[in-house]
Symmetry: C2
Subunit: 314 residues, 2 copies
């Protein structure tokens, strides 16, 4: 996993995180409120949609039309008030089909009312899927699952974890030719089966294939106090985005407000065994994120700081 600012990545297998906003409740000239777009094989999944998100979508050259699912962490304005504007814009672009908005159940009524008023002439279907209780599976396709899990904030709040399904094993072309594997058997062998020759001889799968690419994963955790249950929910994740609103000197304020310090975020990454940590949701008091980054790296070295316009390639 690496952070890559170029756009030259293989389209077919894309798994990219686009940072549209990584500020906290009060926007600053430096940061937008929370919003991200996960590009998984050119399907765009939005996570949170603070004010200004649609402008960043344009600026980052992302295609509005490919957003089919939007996941809202919680019903504070800085995580969802960009939604009515974004959906209005989709309508002005004559978007068709369906957009599903997954959001804490307490937000469904007000969002329905807002959409009914501001998106009355919508050209597409807007579906609301409430997330409640302990969360659970919110999306599944042949190649991807997305699960919601509780965060611990001042109002009901959910994190989301994206897990690529394990891919097929890679066929060793020379071995397949040597053992005269017919085309009709290749799919089964890539799925892990042994090959039985017409003579009855069994060629073990391990002789014919190599391991699939490691399945990639991404977890989004904002807003939350540090809680080890979050580490359990994201155990083994490749990239963890975790809020880091404050520095360590403001630990009491963080707990009081249902937020984390940068060191808290790093501690969760360490406990979870994440490969990399991305911090964000910075309080507007910080004119630079250097302090937060330094404090996080003392606990978990492979930490990066999110910034608007950043694209992370998994």
């Amino acid at each position: 996993m690496y952070i890559c600012l170029s756009k030259h990545t293989p389209t077919m297998n894309r798994f990219e995180i686009n940072i549209l906003g990584c500020g906290s409740a009060t926007p600053s000239p430096r940061h937008n409120p929370s919003a991200q777009i996960v590009n998984f094989r050119d399907n765009l999944f939005m996570i949170d949609c603070g004010e200004g998100a649609q402008k960043m979508i344009r600026r980052m050259g992302l295609n509005f039309q490919r957003i089919n699912h939007i996941f809202i962490s919680h019903m504070h304005g800085d995580h969802c008030l960009g939604l009515p504007g974004l959906l209005s814009t989709l309508s002005l672009h004559e978007r068709t089909g369906r957009v599903t908005i997954h959001l804490p159940e307490e937000g469904v009524d007000i969002m329905k009312r807002i959409m009914a008023f501001f998106c009355r002439e919508s050209t597409f279907e807007i579906v609301f899927e409430p997330v409640g209780g302990d969360g659970g599976r919110v999306f599944e396709s042949d190649s991807l699952t997305i699960d919601a899990f509780p965060l611990y904030h001042r109002v009901p709040c959910y994190g989301y974890i994206f897990r690529e399904k394990p891919g097929l094993r890679h066929l060793k072309g020379d071995m397949a030719r040597f053992h005269e594997v017919p085309v009709s058997k290749i799919a089964a062998i890539k799925a892990g089966e042994d090959f039985i020759k017409p003579t009855g001889e069994v060629i073990p799968n391990a002789m014919l294939t190599t391991d699939p690419d490691p399945a990639r994963s991404y977890a989004y955790c904002s807003d939350t106090v540090m809680d080890k249950r979050v580490a359990e929910a994201v155990r083994g994740v490749e990239l963890l985005y975790h809020e880091a609103t404050y520095d360590s000197s403001l630990g009491d304020k963080a707990r009081e407000r249902g937020h984390s310090t940068a060191a808290d975020a790093a501690e969760i990454a360490r406990m979870a065994g994440a490969k990399a940590l991305l911090i964000g949701h910075y309080s507007k008091r910080y004119s630079s994120v250097e302090l937060l980054l330094r404090e996080a790296r003392e606990v978990f070295e492979n930490t990066s700081a999110a910034d608007e316009g950043m694209k992370i390639v998994l």
Copy 2:
């Protein structure tokens, strides 16, 4: 009247228009949706509040705390969806007192619901003042009036005109000394009265004073088709902001969508006898406003093009 990009203007008598957003419904990387702040003697009056307005307020160094009145032209998202976020931010800054939102009556219910949900911990009072019918006086102080008047769009829509009240006449110091005017009479003479000497001799006011500074005025007209009733409503205004969504080749589209071309805007300025015209609300199709500006200037020469971050000093 001149357009001034410096901040060095006399505070006491300030009358400035700050452009926070002058794009149309679909925001572009170049333009924000509609929002302006009129600074009248350091009281800030907001007109429209599209998404992203609060970020521009910070960027332009305007003081959130001085906004007491917000005027919404109509209930399309690009003119009011920045409001919940702005009011949330005011609360996070522990704003006290009262903010009055003047808006078309059809918008009161939904805005109340949105505020009740997203600003439930508001530290200040939010008052909604419906604007309906033919509009009328929406604000009056010792030195300023603000009136709403109908615009002609696809939904109920209002323009707003700010008129400074005429100031006091200027005393001619040398003449006042020559005629031995006592201090106790000065206020009355500045208000236009003649001076009667103890001898009974009458000194006409015109000998003692010169005319007051001309009263300044500003009108905001967005969104609307070209309609001569708009010109009547803003007759004699010093600076007219008028939407100019399209160029002349798209006149039919403008009328169909309830919008104006740049030439339409200029025609209204000419009919109204405005001193200057400021165009805005550009369709996102224009990567430069040169064409719109040229077409407007063919009809009304003293035209400028609004841009984000621009401050116009009256």
